[in-house]
């Protein structure tokens, strides 16, 4: 009789322990959101702000914690490495980063991956192991470059093509991919020449290099700038170059100066890369990686804007971001 009572008490005791243990574990698991680190190579400007806003929106949707870091100088590799080491030590689940350098960030990010941290690379790549399942790239802008060039040739008549493609750094994957995509289409056109120059990030310097390039080859009739700085420099240069409206200009980013230049006919096209979507989708991809799901290739969203379509409902939504 006593033995049976002892068994009953023991069973109840075990049931209670299992129950409260399960509840505790579940509640702890439910209360612990994913911790994601978002490291930008640069802050300020429409492109980067929009990317941050996208991340914020996704953070709200998914109830995860996102720590924001950014370097003032886009080439500040050492600060990015510090951020990586710090967040890895803090136990972040995933790092979403726009690396400053293709190869200098390889080692710290590899260490991060080895310590179980997932890595998503935005806009720029780093030299990662191809087989790594812990990392993911969202950098392929080839389609945007190709679409931009096809748009130009479908709506404009050229007797010849002499294009200048202006980027900041050849080591920035996305810029390089944009230029490559654009060039791929040019190569298929008859009488087409193109030149790709990488000019750094200082607007005056870029402007000077564009003017000098034009002075060297005054037959340049297409100039395509692939980021906000080169675009601003191009606008400045176009106002200084007496080209007789013979240059068809394409700028990137929906900065106010680009929009105003489009409306005042200084530039002809704006390529708007949807950096908001890039940031937004990167958080979803990060969560998928953390949860061990396979992340499918995510195409980068973009819009091609000209003066005719800039106020069309769908285009104005992409061009003029709501406050």
């Amino acid at each position: 009789m006593k033995k049976r009572k002892l068994y009953i008490v023991l069973i109840i005791f075990i049931v209670l322990i299992v129950f409260f243990g399960t509840v505790k574990v579940l509640s702890e698991r439910a209360e612990k959101p994913y911790n994601i680190t978002f490291i930008r190579m640069k802050e300020g400007g429409q492109f980067w702000s929009s990317m941050r806003n996208g991340v914020r929106e996704a953070r709200t949707d998914n109830h995860c914690i996102v720590d924001f870091y950014s370097t003032v100088n886009a080439a500040d590799v050492s600060t990015q490495i510090d951020y990586i080491n710090k967040t890895v030590n803090n136990g972040t689940d995933c790092i979403v980063i726009t690396p400053c350098s293709y190869y200098l960030l390889q080692k710290p990010l590899k260490i991060a991956e080895e310590s179980g941290v997932k890595v998503i690379s935005l806009f720029n790549e780093y030299d990662k192991d191809e087989e790594s399942s812990a990392s993911f790239y969202m950098t392929d802008l080839h389609p945007a470059g190709r679409a931009m060039a096809e748009e130009l040739f479908s709506n404009n008549k050229f007797s010849y093509i002499n294009a200048l493609i202006v980027g900041s750094f050849a080591t920035l994957s996305s810029e390089r991919y944009l230029a490559e995509g654009f060039s791929e289409v040019l190569k298929n056109e008859p009488n087409a020449n193109f030149k790709v120059i990488y000019t750094g990030r200082k607007i005056d310097s870029i402007c000077t290099q564009i003017i000098n390039s034009y002075k060297i080859d005054s037959k340049i009739n297409i100039i395509f700038t692939v980021n906000a700085e080169t675009s601003e420099a191009l606008i400045k240069a176009l106002q200084m170059i007496d080209s007789g409206n013979n240059i068809l200009s394409v700028v990137s980013s929906n900065s106010l100066i680009n929009i105003e230049s489009l409306e005042t006919n200084i530039v002809d096209y704006i390529l708007v890369i949807n950096s908001f979507a890039m940031g937004y989708q990167s958080i979803y991809a990060a969560i998928d990686l953390i949860e061990g799901k396979k992340v499918e290739n995510i195409s980068v969203d973009f819009s091609i804007v000209n003066k005719k379509n800039m106020f069309e409902p769908d285009i104005q939504k992409r061009l003029f971001l709501m406050p």
Partner: protein
């Protein structure tokens, strides 16, 4: 293990536990369902109230804008100069944060009056814009646009919602002209009205126009940038009212209402299941705690109740195990139920009956032994033997060899029957032979005192009878009936069958006896008979018959004073047996 091996405690315990668990389960289920229904109804009501409140706020806001629009013609007609009109417009604009522009355009797109005077776009660009076109074509005479980038002033890109209306203006000559009034509202003003409204944890409201274009949505940026799509198709299926639908793998509850004057619809979305989950979590935790507690209570209750019920039974069991008929005392069980107490009482009664029966059996055995002793005494009655031998001596002195021979034969026959000690039952023939020998001896002793006859049917000769049963009756007839007669008496012995019984009748013509004596002979023990000196043998014979055959058998006495006495001995008619003497011979 079969069910019959379960103890009562286990059965009670299991049953109580099962009942407690079943009640807990069903109560939990019932309360949960009731709680879910209540929460769901509450959420639906809450969503409806929210939408109703939002509709009132938006109606109020839209009415304000329309009122401003309707006041514009009066402002113009009451103003003395263009500057005064513009000043009045600026006052209205500056008094409200939400109004971006108040302009009046001619039908050709020229600005007539307004707050947007500098760097205005060309009239041909103005007339192409939706707000300008729809103000003239809308049936209601005014138009509310969806959010769009304002295209009035060059290089100014503000997100606005436009209110436009065709108004009539009179020129200096009193001729009426149509014009288009434009009031641009900062989009954020609509946002602020709706943002302040929340529906539960994850619900939201949004606005659409009659073409299902989104006027406001909390995820407007995501929608604009292609990262989110609202479930417009289901809204097209439900123009108004409320409905449940599944969108993006979530079940959601939608309420559609309209905003006056605008053609806009308010759509309230709530996620009852997610809300339910949030609300239910504390409830479920409470239930999860209660269930083990109630189960534990059930276990304890089952142990207590089953113990309470089985403890007296176990006490009873112990009492029964320790039962000793000699030392038995009535049970005193503590804290028992009526049933167990009744069982104990019944057991006590049974034990008492057993004790009485055992006492009776002991008493019977004593009587049997005593009867046997008396029978033995009868067999070797020394007085009878002395008297008989004395009679034989007397006959010898008289050289009456005939009587000597008869008496010795008779005595010999008596002893032959008497000494068959191992046989309690003998045949009627043997018993009557013994009686006949006895009577023959007594007849010789009491010369001419009595005569006797014995009648035994042939078919009853081999019927069994207890040994030496009749002789004491006959002896009683001689010594207490015939002996006191002056004239010779008669003793008749008859045997007959009556139904399943045998009746042995011993009749004498003696002095008889009264009723009182008749009763006392059969019921009063030996000591009393000792005093009266008669009836000892009859009492014992009657007792032996009853002990051997049962209460329905025994001796019946029919007698009256001076009329002799008849003793009817009733015994059962058994199967024939082999005579003892034959058995001895065999």
């Amino acid at each position: 293990m079969s069910s019959r091996n379960f103890s009562i405690q286990k059965i009670f315990g299991t049953a109580i536990l099962a009942v407690v668990i079943a009640i807990t389960f069903f109560m939990t289920l019932a309360v949960s369902i009731y709680f879910l229904i209540q929460v769901r109804t509450s959420l639906e009501d809450s969503t409806q109230q929210t939408i109703y409140q939002l509709r009132r706020n938006l109606n109020s806001y839209v009415t304000d804008i329309i009122k401003i629009g309707s006041a514009v013609p009066d402002i113009i007609s009451n103003s003395e100069s263009e500057e005064q009109i513009i000043q009045s417009f600026n006052v209205i604009k500056n008094s409200r944060n939400d109004i971006v522009t108040i302009d009046i355009f001619a039908l050709n797109g020229e600005l007539l009056f307004g707050t947007s005077s500098n760097n205005l776009r060309a009239p041909k660009e103005i007339v192409k814009q939706n707000w300008f076109k729809y103000a003239q074509t809308h049936n209601s005479g005014y138009y509310f646009s969806v959010p769009h980038v304002q295209q009035l002033v060059l290089l100014k890109y503000t997100w606005v919602i436009s209110y436009s209306e065709v108004i009539k203006l009179e020129d200096e000559n009193g001729i009426s002209h149509s014009a288009v009034l434009l009031i641009d509202i900062n989009q954020s003003s609509i946002d602020s009205i709706i943002k302040s409204i929340s529906i539960g944890e994850n619900g939201y409201c949004f606005l659409i126009d009659k073409f299902y274009n989104i006027v406001y949505h909390p995820k407007q940026t995501l929608i604009n940038l292609g990262q989110f799509k609202e479930d417009i198709p289901s809204l097209k299926q439900h123009i108004l009212g409320r409905f449940y639908s599944i969108y993006n793998n979530s079940r959601r509850y939608s309420i559609i209402d309209t905003v006056d004057f605008t053609g806009w619809k308010i759509v309230g979305i709530s996620y009852p299941h997610e809300e339910l989950f949030t609300v239910m979590v504390p409830f479920l935790i409470l239930i999860s705690v209660l269930i083990p507690v109630l189960t534990l209570a059930g276990v304890i209750l089952s142990l207590v109740v089953s113990n309470y019920i089985t403890l007296p039974i176990r006490q009873l069991e112990k009492e029964v195990e320790d039962f000793n008929i000699e030392t038995f005392k009535p049970m005193l069980l503590k804290h028992t139920s009526i049933e167990v107490r009744s069982l104990a009482i019944s057991f006590t009664r049974m034990a008492e009956r057993m004790k009485k029966l055992m006492d009776d059996i002991v008493e019977e055995q004593k009587l049997i032994r005593k009867s046997e002793l008396e029978a033995l005494q009868a067999k070797i009655n020394p007085h009878f033997l002395y008297n008989t031998l004395d009679s034989i001596v007397w006959f010898a002195e008289q050289k009456d060899f005939g009587n000597i021979i008869q008496m010795v034969k008779a005595l010999s026959n008596m002893f032959r029957i008497s000494i068959s000690r191992d046989h309690e039952f003998i045949t009627l023939e043997e018993e009557l032979s013994h009686v006949e020998s006895y009577l023959a001896i007594q007849q010789k002793r009491f010369t001419d005192k009595f005569d006797f006859s014995i009648s035994l049917p042939e078919n009853l000769k081999m019927k069994p009878i207890i040994k030496l049963l009749i002789q004491p009756i006959v002896e009683n007839s001689i010594y207490h009936g015939i002996r006191y007669l002056v004239d010779p008496g008669l003793i008749e012995i008859k045997v007959q069958k009556e139904g399943e019984d045998i009746i042995v009748t011993v009749s004498d013509t003696g002095v008889g006896m009264d009723k009182e004596t008749q009763e006392s002979i059969l019921t009063t023990d030996k000591h009393e008979h000792d005093r009266s000196g008669s009836g000892i043998g009859v009492f014992n014979v009657n007792k032996r018959i009853k002990l051997t055959y049962g209460e329905k058998y025994g001796i019946k006495i029919i007698s009256e004073i001076e009329e002799g006495a008849t003793f009817e001995i009733r015994i059962p008619c058994g199967d024939d047996i082999i005579p003892v003497n034959k058995m001895v011979e065999l």
